[in-house]
Amino acid sequence: MKEEKSDKSAKKFGMVIDLDKCTGCGSCMVACMAENNVPFKEDESKKLVSITWMRVYRLTNGKSFPDTEICYLPKPCQHCGGKGEHGHSPCVSVCPATATDYNKETGIVSQIYTRCFGCRYCMAACPYHARYFNWWDPVWPKGMEEYLSPNVSVRMRGVVEKCSFCFHRYQLAKDKAYYEGRSDIGENEYQTACAQACPAGAITFGDLNDSGHAVYELKKNKNAFRLLERLQTNPKIYYLSSRQWIRRAGDNYLKNEK
Amino acid sequence: MFPFCFEWIWDMSHIVFMGGLWFALIIIGLGMTYCIGRTFYDTYIFKGKDGHN
């Protein structure tokens, strides 16, 4: 974990996902897989061995009809800032080979596939189950290699992978800005595939530190919450829900705790 | 592991951790060098099975 000098102008990319808008259609999952060359198998029913950087969970309030309520919760990597936002996210601090890194310029937790040797300690450390192991080598249906994105390297058997906030898009946007003589990129120049694919507009992506970005105000909403905040992982994914039971489902509470 | 690896930083964590490691390795290395060197002396210069006595 290379210490970098903190910069007041540092970005902190994050997401705000409005659960009241999410219909659970799964477009974000499909877009993510296509964008990031995520491998798949013929049988994808065993979710514990399949790779879905973005995964939509189905939550219920546990009540019987007619009080049953359903909520769909899309869950990418939370890009945790760790305790005190020092970049010591649960996974980064444990990786023995420095194969996962916290970028202090963007707040993005990266995964270096060619550096990872597959010890899976990061998976054990992540409480969100946001990390996936390549139990098999990727096998693409005939001809599909032609459709793979040239901007994202495909991963081999035996390494861990996870959501990168489509970091290659950030790099492309930065390159374009540099070419055009600009020092910074606009909000719309860097958007993740899932945010763009969501037909309900439930996913908003941007710089949580930039008051000009939509996420800056959205995260201040009184209905905003993050998953497992009590663990002090400091995730960068905020969720919005007007329903109290959903907000409460975001964290653990003692039995007699309000 | 080595100062020329690009991850290396001259901070307290690296100095303490790698310092401990290299300290242990040096003791093991020097210990074995002494044993082998002394054995050569005992066997081929002092020339005796019980050259140490």
Partner: protein, 417 residues
């Protein structure tokens, strides 16, 4: 056939009997090697691990055998640093058992990683903040120390000892063994501890997470302590099993009892520390994360509160009491039962801090995950057992492992078989 290599005055079984015994262990070893090759060539899809169980049977086996191998460093510490001279009669065997445990752990780690060819990255691209890095460094270095401690025992072989160079080398290595033993203790303290730190630092996993001192969680100290406490019990247990199989007494009772007594006090003090740690975890650490104790011991088919009681009371307090009491450790059955319980206790401790951590859900909308290892995982975990039997068998047959063997078995001397 091989009587010229066997120490002249020691009686050993016939070559054919020995070959048969080794063949049986070798068959199991080959089964394990076959499973190992499957994992290497086909990948970890040969296991029943999954994204919830990134750590599973192998990591438990690693943690458990390293704890049990702790008998080597602690006996070495007592013998060479503290100066408990009686223990010279068991320290050889403790070193051999330690060597088997540590080399096995490295073999299992070599199978467990997804890209074994990149295994050297852990050294080259070391992240000094990771407990696993500390484990890898200290474990590898300590294996060097164990090899150095094992070499003089090998050099004492009848034929090898006749070669002046090796005779002198053995003597010179013995003369500075305290330096190697001290280095071994230093390394062991850190790798046993950092194995505890592996789970203790997981602040995203409330079942495993513990507070601590500086960068080290309490589990760091508890693991070192428990390895030093229970490792000697494993040495005693294996010694007793060896005596049973060979039909000979190999170590005098006073030596075993001294080790048992020290082990008893170590287990006793460890279990008090473990109870304090558990109470603090239940009262302070857990509630801060929104979890109650029973969240981790209910609503699943396996992990009940019984496992905590079994670990602390039956496999902690009970063996400590037996071994601390003179009557208990002098009683043949008392000693064996206490040693078995202590070994079981440390294995359960490592189990819950690996497997139960993976099983328990943290997100409210996830559920407990159960896991049963595949035959490939089981075979590769049994592999070290067969490997250990083979190493011990060869060492016992050809090396003077037990200095008291001649004295304790005068009627077998000059058998020459």
């Amino acid at each position: 056939m091989d009587s010229k290599i066997i120490s002249g005055e020691l009686k050993r079984c016939s070559t054919w009997q020995f070959a048969l015994w080794i063949s049986a262990a070798g068959a199991v070893l080959l089964w394990g090697v076959y499973a190992m090759l499957l994992c290497w060539f086909k990948g970890l899809n040969q296991t029943n691990m999954n994204d919830s169980y990134g750590f599973a049977l192998w990591i438990w086996a690693d943690l458990a055998i390293i704890a049990l191998g702790g008998g080597a460093f602690f006996t070495g510490f007592l013998r060479y640093i503290i100066g408990k001279d009686e223990l010279k009669n068991i320290v050889n065997y403790a070193v051999i058992i330690g060597f088997i445990c540590y080399s096995s752990a490295l073999i299992i780690l070599g199978i467990d990683v997804g890209q074994p060819i990149r295994g050297w990255f852990i050294f080259w691209h070391a992240n000094v903040h990771s407990m696993l890095t500390e484990v890898a460094f200290c474990l590898t270095c300590y294996l060097f120390v164990l090899i150095i401690e094992y070499i003089p025992i090998i050099l004492e072989n009848r034929r090898i000892d006749n070669i002046p160079f090796f005779h002198n080398l053995g003597h010179n290595m013995h003369s500075i063994m305290a330096v190697f033993a001290a280095t071994g203790v230093f390394l062991s303290f850190f790798h046993q501890g950092s194995l505890g730190g592996v789970s203790g630092v997981l602040f995203g996993r409330p079942f495993a997470y513990r507070e601590g001192v500086l960068i080290w969680p309490w589990t760091f100290f508890l693991f070192t302590w428990s390895a030093a406490a229970c490792g000697p019990c494993f040495t005693i247990l294996i010694t007793k099993i060896t005596e049973k199989i060979t039909g000979k007494r190999l170590v005098k009772d006073n030596v075993i009892e001294l080790l048992a007594k020290i082990s008893g006090w170590m287990i006793g003090t460890y279990i008090i520390a473990k109870i304090i740690d558990t109470v603090y975890w239940i009262k302070v650490t857990l509630p801060a994360t929104g979890f109650g104790l029973m969240d981790f011991y209910s609503n699943n088919p396996f992990y009940g509160i019984w496992i905590l009681v079994l670990e602390i009371v039956i496999c902690g307090i009970l063996p400590a009491l037996i071994l601390i009491s003179e009557k208990g450790r002098k009683n043949r059955y008392g000693l064996i039962i206490a040693a078995i319980l202590a070994v079981l206790g440390v294995c359960i401790n490592r189990w819950v801090l690996v497997l139960q951590v993976m099983a328990a859900p943290v997100l409210t909308f996830e559920t407990w995950q159960m896991y049963f290892p595949s035959w490939q995982e089981i075979a590769t975990t049994i592999l070290p057992l067969a490997y250990g039997i083979i190493i011990i068998s060869f060492s016992y047959r050809y090396l003077p492992v037990f200095p008291q063997e001649k004295e304790l078995n005068p009627w077998t001397i000059n058998g020459g078989k």
